[in-house]
Amino acid sequence: MANLNIDSAKERTFDAIVIGSGISGGWAAKELTGNGLKTLVLERGRDVKHITDYPTTNKMPWEFEHRGQLPSAVMKANPIVGRCYAFGEDSQHFFVKDKEHPYVQQKPFDWIRGYQVGGKSLLWARQTQRWSDFDFEGPARDGYAVDWPIRYKDIAPWYSHVEKFAGIAGNKDGLAELPDGEFLPGFPLNDVEQYFSDHLKTHYKNRHVISARCAHLSKPNQIHIDQGRAQCQNRDLCQRGCPFGGYFSSNASTIPWAEKSGNMTLRPHSVVQSIIYDEQKGKATGVRVIDSNTKEAIEYYAKIIFVNAAALNTNLVLLNSTSSRFPNGFGNDSGVLGKFVAFHNYSANIGAEYDGLKEWTVDGRSPTSGYIPRFRNVYKQETDFLRGYACTFGGYRYQQHKYEGVGASLKEGLVKGDLSPWFVGAQFMGETIPKDTNHVSLDAKLKDDWGVPLLNVSVDYDDNDEKMKKDFIEQLTEMFTSAGFKNIRPSTDHRAPGLDIHEMGGARMGKDPKTSILNEWNQVHACKNVFVTDGACMTSTSCQNPSLTYMAITARAANHAVEELKKGNLS
């Protein structure tokens, strides 16, 4: 035991502990501190202060040593994170490098991580589409995973709660499959995106292109100005951290807000080894932390614990929290902990050209694009695969420069050039089905620098994914053809799962403690003062980008925790 001194133990005692400061941990911190709880926020990485710690944010392209490209030594040393689209010379300092934090790929899995205050909320794609009951009712209707213990009506007010604070740009599209929310003005579709949207409306039933809802301040409200954030300036350099706070991140929003309450203690460099379970009291009393600088082991205590370490690391913490009561991992009476991990299938896209609308283009940059909500198997099962997919849809033109020749003519060619025709593209985002064969576990032998076992990851595609991918190519090819797009080029790849950065599950919510880890309030069934509200809690994945749902689930659970504490149900 690190320190048994009574005064010291008192100093290490809080009302609440939040493990992780990323997109969900930030929300737990904000809600708990906002309700007057003295809250310790533990972050395994370094601190990243808003603006101050965005070293590249205001750099011009020519101010980067390699003008944005990464040295071959960096790429060679980082085959995993090197495959991530956002990993570049301007953002590499926010990503975990392959050698820093190893894990065991029992099957290929690109685990993309951001170990710092704010986590991956600095790096996310900022897409924020709500779920509907077509998503929450999916497992029960189609007979996979387990039934979600919540429905849209349970989470709808919390979607509104987080949307108002985070700032979501979008339009009221009136689609049952993608409910409207509390929106700032949406970013407009450009001419070719609008053309395709209009075309689908007249030629298809229930297929739509909308402006993708995104966490950008298109027109800030007072609540955003109070956070010190300003209007999105259309830089499209979000992965550097935004000096305007134009997009939502823990760093720009929830963490400084929690700090301002005076109730938050933020402790970076704190690797959580395990959750402490008190056999006598029958509840969790705190967490064991290893200081990543000093390697000192320290215990912190609290009445409630929120686990927001990011989906797979939350599984790791729970699996590593063993006791006589929980010999197989925290709350793992059912044996499903670490299992039913799923993700989003991003392994296909399709591009084409459009010959029309030549006199129109755009000026400036958009932080979002078009979005095609799921149209397959929404109202009823209609294909030979389960569930469906959403797609991004975007159109662009560019100035066509000439690279031929040398000398004065080349210099001229690099400046002059006509605008290209419109190019269009759609990215596949498929739901995957959680299965017990897709799982994570603790390695029996290998440990990291802090004595925590390495995570074995065994996650793979299945036949349903292949069928769905084929359908995406077929349907989008048909839709593009029908819209008069030419030179249609479908493309599929064999990327490993993980590169979607939407890994979910392992500690799923459910009605039955025999088949799930968490109840309808994200409490561990067998230990009600521990809440898991990050991606690990997801019973199914649907196909929307998941962060908004994590935020809403977290705010809902945190406010429930506060009520339960008041009622004395958790002490």
Binding site: N58, M60, P61, W62, E63, E65, H66, R67, G68, Q69, L70, P71, S72, A73, K76, F187, P188, L189, N190, D191, Q194, Q233, N234, R235, L237, K358, E359, W360, T361, V362, D363, G364, R365, S366, Q399, K402, Y403, E404, G405, V406, G407, A408, L410, K411, G413, L414, V415, K416, G417, D418, L419
Partner: protein, 190 residues
């Protein structure tokens, strides 16, 4: 310009770019200290002269004015993998020998017209070559040429000069306007 002095500006800084470590050659000229690839003073001079032939000084700055030779060397040193570097150096040696054989001079000692013609003959060979066999490696000289040209053009179009004077880069557009007439873009069209 005296070819022996052309690299004097190599270590100068353009717009906050990182200062490259340099060393002084036997003739007093500064050369770039490379970490991963071996390109001697003659090779560095050749690359600088090629870069300045590809992007020459006209009414606007050329490669040497913009310190692009140092950038090209930096990219080859840092961003080419080992295989790419070996192929680049092999092509450079073959090119040097060919110029010496055919012209009896170094590339930089030739007049601008000849230098341009030499590079254009590599880029667009007049006589169609025999169809390359499958899996044959690209011609070493052609590969070397595209290495220099690619990095020179990349450095040029990403230079402060180009991005502030030729095609202006906006760090903070502050707008996204759709349904925007192409005519209002004021593009320099071909």
């Amino acid at each position: 310009m005296n070819r022996r002095t052309v690299l004097k500006n190599l270590a100068l800084v353009i717009g906050g770019a990182v200062l490259l470590p340099s060393c002084v050659g036997k003739d007093g000229t500064s050369y770039v200290q490379l970490k991963h690839v071996s390109i001697d003073e003659d090779g560095q001079r050749l690359i600088a002269d090629m870069a300045d032939t590809i992007i020459p000084k006209t009414t606007t700055p050329g490669a040497k004015d913009l310190n692009l030779p140092a950038f090209v060397l930096l990219m080859i040193d840092d961003c080419f993998d080992k295989k790419g570097q070996e192929a680049f150096v092999a092509g450079m040696k073959a090119f040097t020998a060919k110029i010496k054989k055919e012209h009896g001079k170094e590339f930089g000692d030739l007049n601008a017209k000849t230098r341009e013609a030499i590079l254009m003959a590599i880029e667009k060979p007049q006589v169609a070559k025999a169809k390359p066999q499958k899996n044959t490696p690209p011609d070493p000289i052609t590969n070397f040429y595209w290495g220099v040209k690619g990095q020179t053009v990349f450095g040029y179009t990403n230079s402060q000069y180009f991005m502030t004077k030729e095609i202006v880069y906006e760090l903070v557009p502050g707008r996204y306007i759709v349904h925007y007439p192409v005519s209002k873009l004021k593009l320099k069209t071909a």
